[in-house]
């Protein structure tokens, strides 16, 4: 399962889900689905999210069990 730090980084940048959604051209609900782990985004959307949150894709998303939260 795909884990992510979208919510954490979005809050750090002071974005609402709607703000981030507008930046990457998706609805607020899609951002919420991603944050809750209900939906794994496409590579294209993952790249756009990483760009909007000024980070790398592999810092934003990782596979469960990789222990990203220890970093």
């Amino acid at each position: 399962m795909l884990q992510n730090r979208v919510k954490e980084l979005r809050a750090r940048h002071g974005f609402t889900q709607s703000d981030l959604g507008k930046q990457v051209d998706v609805t607020r609900q899609t951002i919420a689905f991603i944050e809750k782990g209900e939906f794994s985004p496409s590579v294209l959307l993952a790249l756009k999210l990483a760009q909007a949150l000024q980070t790398k894709v592999d810092d934003l998303f990782w596979l469960e069990g990789e222990g990203k939260d220890e970093n």
């Binding site: 998706v26 939906f39 985004p41």
Partner: protein, 166 residues
């Protein structure tokens, strides 16, 4: 998004199906006599007061609902000009496909409906073959299958749209 017309569309269809059921009951309940003689063939239909009320009432409610429905479609198209709904579209109007997240939710809901139909239609067909059901019961069965289809779709999509703080 929660107020998006497409989210409520299955509820509209469920209401129309229920009304159609009431109308079908009114139409099929009257006593019908077939008169067949060597020279004459006719059908006498007697509609009772209650059945007449059901038919008339269903038609009135249907007209009111369809008027509100069209105004809702018009409102949606005005508010979302880039996501217009066409009532002549072959694709079901309830599909949410404005981005990949919405497409994912729609796909999950559609898969559930497809799974339901995979069972519902053969089971219903078997029941019709085995049991001597009246025409009205068969109509109600078909309407119930369609009603449940929209219910499954609506419940699946709705559970993803519970509002939360951003």
């Amino acid at each position: 998004m929660k107020t998006d017309f497409r989210l409520k569309y299955p509820l509209w269809m469920m209401a129309f199906i229920a009304l159609l059921g009431v109308f079908a009951y009114g139409i099929n309940s009257p006593s019908t006599k077939r008169v067949n003689t060597s020279s004459n063939q006719s059908v006498i239909v007697e509609i009772g007061a209650f059945e007449g009320l059901l038919i008339f009432g269903a038609m009135v409610v249907y007209l009111v609902l369809i008027t509100i429905f069209f105004s809702q479609v018009k409102k949606h198209n005005k508010e979302k000009p880039n996501q217009k709904i066409s009532l002549l579209s072959i694709r079901p109007l309830e599909y949410l496909e404005q981005d990949e997240g919405m497409t994912h939710i729609t796909r999950v809901a559609v898969q559930k409906v497809y799974t339901y139909y995979t069972w519902a239609l053969p089971v219903f067909t078997t029941i019709i073959i085995i049991m001597p059901l009246s025409r009205l019961v068969i109509i109600f069965g078909i309407l119930a299958i369609a009603f449940i289809q929209y219910l499954i779709y609506y419940l699946e999509v709705r559970k993803h749209f519970k509002e939360e703080a951003e």
